[in-house]
């Protein structure tokens, strides 16, 4: 029996695998579907947008630099409102049992991919009941894109309502993946529109083979790929939701690479001779947002005093176990325009007490909200809140820690007049500073339902962001964002906690894996040693 079990176990995975190289990724969550446009989860994009599809622009591997994808280049008009994309020729669509493409990728596919999301009366807008395009909407595409025209088969012109500097980065995001119009037409004729989501056809480095719900996704290498193409022959996602089990699978050789290890397991992984650990500063921030509309937190000096009372390094050590950089700015140091000349508020309880006295604040009681869930930017909110509570008590501030179930937490933290400072965070979507600063701190997002949980509206700060958004020159934009960070630090709407480090454990046999600052998992560059 033992012999049989061994036979079937994972050892066989590498031992009996003949010539074909199969790479197994222990993914965390099941994909919502395989059409990237209607969905929002990172795990869905790892299973759909990245292996199967391409976009007009793409992020260069391991960076947030925008490089040509299905567009080989683009011209931008003087006023920044017209983008003319020159499309790549000879890009082959995948095929499957039901569909064999008769033509290469062209302008019709681009127009189809955008219009189905943007116009509510498009026949493919509601191709599955209840489908919505949340990323397209939240990136303000409906307001931004005025028209998309086909100039010829390999030229497409986007006209915008106003200039938008992050536009090229926005369309490198998964929601803007290009799907085949010819395939859509074939599905329409066959009356199986939903297969656009079930049996995806793309231009990406891997072809979709099969999905067993909640268990396994299989892909095979796209031999006709327009780019460099994958090294491995087959790619398998073994869906394994629990972090401890993922690690056991990795150790047992049942998979080659896993995402999101538990912070407590990092040391064990480092000590294992069969495993290696890649790490990278994450494109994220964890913060505590004061309600800047409620006294005494409407006073910037009081907020700064509270910031000075909290020992940030102690939180980084105890909660992140050192796997984070203390944050002084709202954007992470790996992002362009990060203002490193800014000096963080020092940890100085005595000075803090003095400022509070000067501002006439005594016997202050406040609430600190701690999320009930672990997030990539915050491994343990409760513990962080306890450390803050202890530090603040030393300057005479009484803290009550509150928490709600996650859905309720998100909802209540957005309510105007909220009692208390709320802990939350953010992971970047596209590497553009606007994606942090405007989303989290502008006047526009301080209204109901916005992500500005400090309800902080500083006209000067917002003006800088607006100017930067319509400025094409990167150097000018950098200068504007640097100034914005100065205002942020001076006004202290948040206590900036940390930028957490991201870890990816993998087998020693794996080479060529490139970590993405955006947290994507892509496998066309990986190889496995025999």
């Amino acid at each position: 029996m033992k012999h049989l079990l061994l036979c079937a176990s994972a050892l066989a995975l590498t031992a009996t695998m003949s010539e074909a190289k199969t790479f197994v990724y222990c993914s965390e969550a099941s994909p919502e579907g395989f059409d990237p446009a209607p969905f929002t989860a990172g795990g869905t994009f790892d299973a759909s947008a990245h292996p199967i599809y391409n976009r007009l622009t793409e992020f260069k591997k391991g960076t947030t630099e925008v490089v040509p994808g299905l567009a080989t280049g683009w011209d931008v008009s003087e006023d920044g409102t017209e983008y003319t994309f020159h499309l790549r020729e000879g890009v082959k669509w995948h095929s499957n049992e039901k569909f064999t493409p008769t033509r290469d990728f062209n302008a019709d596919d681009v127009i189809f991919s955008y219009e189905r999301q943007g116009s509510a009366d498009h026949p493919w807008h509601q191709y599955i009941a209840g489908v919505t395009y949340e990323y397209y909407t939240s990136m303000a595409m409906p307001d931004l894109i005025k028209s998309i025209e086909k100039i010829d088969d390999y030229t497409v012109k986007f006209t915008l309502n106003q200039p938008e500097a992050p536009f090229l980065a926005n369309i490198a995001m998964p929601f803007a993946s290009i799907v085949s119009k010819e395939y859509a037409d074939a599905l329409d004729a066959a009356g199986t529109k939903e297969d656009l989501n079930n049996l995806p056809i793309g231009t990406g480095p891997f072809k979709f083979v099969a999905y067993q719900k909640d268990a396994v996704i299989r892909y095979t290498k796209n031999a006709d790929y327009w780019g460099e193409g994958a090294i491995i022959d087959d790619l398998v996602f073994a869906i394994t939701p629990d972090a401890a089990v993922r690690l056991q699978k990795l150790k047992a050789g049942e998979c080659h690479l896993m995402p999101y290890p538990a912070p407590a397991d990092i040391e064990t992984i480092k000590a294992d001779p069969n495993l290696k650990l890649d790490e990278q500063a994450g494109l994220n921030v964890g913060y505590l947002a004061y309600n800047t509309t409620v006294a005494p937190f409407d006073n910037a000096r009081v907020r700064k005093a509270l910031n000075m009372a909290i020992n940030k390094n102690a939180i980084v050590d105890a909660v992140f176990q050192g796997a984070a950089a203390p944050a002084k700015n709202p954007i992470p140091p790996t992002m362009w325009s990060y203002n490193d000349s800014i000096v963080d508020d020092p940890y100085d309880p005595e000075a803090s007490k003095k400022i509070l006295e000067e501002e006439g604040v005594s016997d202050l009681s406040m609430k600190i909200w701690a999320m009930p869930v672990q997030r990539p930017y915050m491994p343990n909110a409760r513990r962080s809140a306890e450390l803050m509570q202890e530090d603040l008590s030393k300057v005479g501030v009484k803290v009550e820690i509150v928490s709600y179930e996650w859905g309720e937490y998100l909802q209540k933290s957005m309510e105007a007049g909220r009692d208390g400072a709320v802990m939350l965070g953010w992971t970047g979507d596209n590497g553009d500073p606007d994606n942090f600063l405007s989303v989290l701190l502008s006047c526009d997002s301080a209204g109901p339902g916005g992500a500005n949980r400090a309800f902080w509206c500083n006209e000067d700060f917002s003006k800088l962001l607006k100017d930067a958004k319509i400025t094409a020159d990167p150097a000018e934009r950098t200068a504007l964002y640097e100034q914005a960070q100065v205002i942020f630090k001076d006004q202290a709407p948040w206590f900036t906690i940390a930028h957490s480090t991201q870890y990816v454990p993998m087998s020693n046999k794996v080479s060529g894996f490139v970590m993405s600052p955006l947290g994507d998992f892509t496998f066309e560059t990986v190889d496995i040693a025999e």
Partner: protein
């Protein structure tokens, strides 16, 4: 007998209606809603929230929503998942065989071992076997499943390397889904080693899932046996000089089985609860894991229809248990 079955079936109707109400309200009582959870840290404006809620039909009064749900249900429409946009029934049918396979395996292990241990513990009352097995049963009953599963994985898969860590079959094997039962499909595939692989993947999760029912069944069998063995007819059988194995096997065990069968039937509900954790640990693609994911995402249609399907299943099993009493004990039929 037919009247007995009919009367049992009649009871099911009000129970079923009650369950629709509970299943419908349960997920709506939870704070937070699917639109907010979809938006996450990004937030959603009240206008967009209203728009999306209207699109999903959640702007209607709650009573209207309930009758809408009931109306569709009567036409066989269980709605679509808010997350995957797929019909709930399709998803259920895809995942259900995995849970049944795991559950059956667990209940067989629990029954065979539980009844055997219980009988021997009763026969050897007060012996070291009785004491140790009943202590273990108590430990097993109080075992936190998540921890227990992880412990077994670390020991048997990590240290000894005897069993695979998780999943239903080695990724080496790839064949079409025919019945959804991996043991059967692996045999049908004709691929060498596939069945052994499927079986080896089933061992740890079914042991974990069987732990609590096993403990309950063992204790219940022991106490039922002890009670029966004190009865006059057992003493009479012994006095007649009947061999011990016949006294136990024919006179005592059959009578002791009535409460034991009830216990086993009731364990189906316990199994469903255990499946939620077991499936999550062992990455087992069944309905337990599906339900827990859907609850955390407030996927209303999946939770309400999924609960309903599970409840219907438990009801059917309980009905079968009731009917089994009749077979074991004719007196119940007459009543």
């Amino acid at each position: 007998m037919i009247r007995f079955i009919l009367s049992k079936l009649l009871y099911l109707i009000p129970t079923f209606i009650g369950i629709t109400i509970i299943a419908f309200s349960f997920v709506r009582i939870l704070p937070g809603d699917p639109v907010l959870l979809m938006a996450g840290e990004r937030g959603v404006t009240p206008e967009r929230h209203a728009e999306l809620s209207a699109q999903l039909g959640y702007d209607q009064p709650i009573v209207m929503q309930y009758f809408d749900f009931l109306g569709r249900l009567l036409q066989g429409d269980m709605g679509n998942s808010l997350v995957t946009k797929k019909p709930v029934l399709d998803e259920f049918l895809t995942l259900f065989p995995a849970t049944v396979e795991l559950g059956l395996c667990a209940i067989i292990i629990a029954t065979v071992i539980g009844v055997t241990v219980g009988v021997f513990a009763a026969i050897k009352r007060g012996s070291w076997f009785d004491q140790i097995s009943m202590t273990l049963a108590l430990v097993g009953f109080s075992m936190p499943i998540f921890w227990w599963g992880l412990l077994l994985i670390i020991f048997f898969s990590g240290i000894l390397g005897w069993t695979p860590v998780s999943g239903r079959i080695s990724l080496l094997y790839y064949f079409p889904n025919v019945t959804g039962f991996m043991l059967i499909d692996s045999l049908l595939s004709g691929q060498k080693g596939a069945f052994a692989s499927a079986l080896s993947h089933l061992i740890l999760p079914s042991l974990v899932l069987a732990t609590i029912p096993l403990a309950v069944i063992a204790r219940q069998t022991r106490s039922a046996m002890l009670e029966v063995m004190g009865e006059d007819y057992v003493r009479t059988a012994r006095a007649k000089g009947m061999p011990q194995y016949r006294v136990i096997g024919i006179h005592a065990l059959r009578n002791a089985m009535v409460p034991v069968v009830t216990t086993i039937g009731l364990q189906i509900g316990v199994l469903m609860a255990g499946a939620i954790l077991t499936e999550t640990i062992f990455s087992w693609p069944g309905i337990g894991k599906w339900m827990i994911d859907s609850i955390s995402r407030r996927d209303y249609p999946v939770v309400q229809s999924g609960l309903l399907l599970i409840a219907a299943l438990v009801m059917i099993v309980n009905l079968l248990v009731d009917l089994t009493y009749g077979l074991i004990n004719p007196r119940i039929r007459v009543k």
